[in-house]
Symmetry: C2
Subunit: 208 residues, 2 copies
DNA sequence: AACAATTTATCACAGCCGTGATAGAAAGGG
DNA sequence: CCCTTTCTATCACGGCTGTGATAAATTGTT
């Protein structure tokens, strides 16, 4: 076998460069040349690892979605079974888990920033549409699951419509992420976390 | 006086064309040429009314923000003084007013679509930054005002932190608008309105 | 009719973009 | 050493972008 280069590692390097460009200058400025420069690679090299612009951008979005998804799954595994846990404990777990979707540190800020860019780009880019759809559905599935668990643990006020609450909490998360990323001077990290906690507390039984 | 052309009307026509392009193809594809074509004008004409791309895009965003802001103000004027109104009535007023910020019909859908595009573009476009900031602040001021009025009318559960609730409701609205515009197959108009109503109901006193 | 200002229409230029084609360089197996 | 495959690097092309410059048409006034 000729030349030894870890192909997958190279692809990851390129995608990471794309993320940096997207965070700094916006996704629409993440051209092949700009990404190649950022990765300190020749554009020819980039094109050797990716068939074209579409494959690169698709792979990048899939990478980011997987990265966040995997981290969420790892958090879930860490906690393990939470049957029998008290309402407040499940609620704290819920806050911690859903905080992964908020830009509360540099890593998450970068991730959410590019995800917002990808999501908006997907509206007019058929290449990203399917992935954006799956992401939206998966987020709702996760939130629904969390609310169901919370309900089982008695951490949910009676009389709440689970589907409505799923959409309410998901939209709240989306909106917090949206503003925290786009207008950090209007919505800072602390307030962001406070609002999420307040919402989940508010879903709990009256006298806690 | 030479040639009679309503200058402001022409500028509005161009901006409307830009909105159509932005809704259909995304803001980044709203080039001078594309907008001129959409307006059935020569690019030279467009450049006669706007100094350049930056002025056009700035004016367009300002126009859209003003348009929505004016409509909100008109709604407020229509209602007039609501001192002495009952909690449920004020709440219904609040839902109606805030619904202006959700894409519940074609007009609002178009408006919110371009506003989302403008907001995300503003992150990396200094020309739009100030306006995007003012918009975010103004939205929060409106929501805060509504919550305060609701509180005065006894339509708010006691013990709620008004600032937190302002950010919670605003983020909820942003998130609903975001998903309803980008992923209409995931969040339809009815659910969108339902969630807003559910949230405001939820803020009311326990037994209504 | 002549003039002047506005409006419309073109051309040209430099700068990006994605991509096809192609040539060298590098590296490991025979 | 040679050969094959992988990888890197460059060139060129057509297409799009905003913009400066300039010409031509239009229109109302004098």
């Amino acid at each position: 076998m000729p030349k030894q280069v870890d192909r997958e590692a190279r692809r990851r390097e390129v995608v990471d460069a794309l993320f940096r460009v997207a965070v700094r200058d916006g996704l629409q400025r993440a051209s092949l040349r700009a990404v190649a420069d950022e990765a300190q690679l020749n554009i020819g090299s980039v094109r050797h690892y990716f068939a074209g612009q579409e494959e690169l951008i698709r792979f990048a979005m899939r990478s980011m979605v997987d990265r966040v998804g995997d981290r969420l799954q790892r958090r879930i595994d860490e906690i393990g079974e939470l049957d029998g846990l008290s309402g407040p404990r499940v609620r704290r777990f819920a806050v911690e888990l859903l905080s992964e979707l908020l830009p509360l540190d540099d890593r998450r800020r970068a991730e959410v920033t590019v995800l917002v860019d990808f999501s908006t780009a997907a509206r007019t880019d058929p290449a990203l549409d399917g992935l954006a759809h799956e992401t939206a559905v998966a987020t709702r599935a996760l939130v629904r699951r969390i609310l169901t668990r919370l309900d089982s643990a008695g951490g949910l006020r009676p009389g709440l419509h689970i589907e409505t609450e799923t959409e309410r909490l998901t939209s709240l998360l989306d909106g917090l992420a949206f503003t925290a990323v786009l207008r950090p001077e209007v919505l800072d990290d602390r307030t962001c976390a406070t609002v999420l906690r307040a919402h989940l507390d508010d879903l709990g039984p009256a006298a806690d």
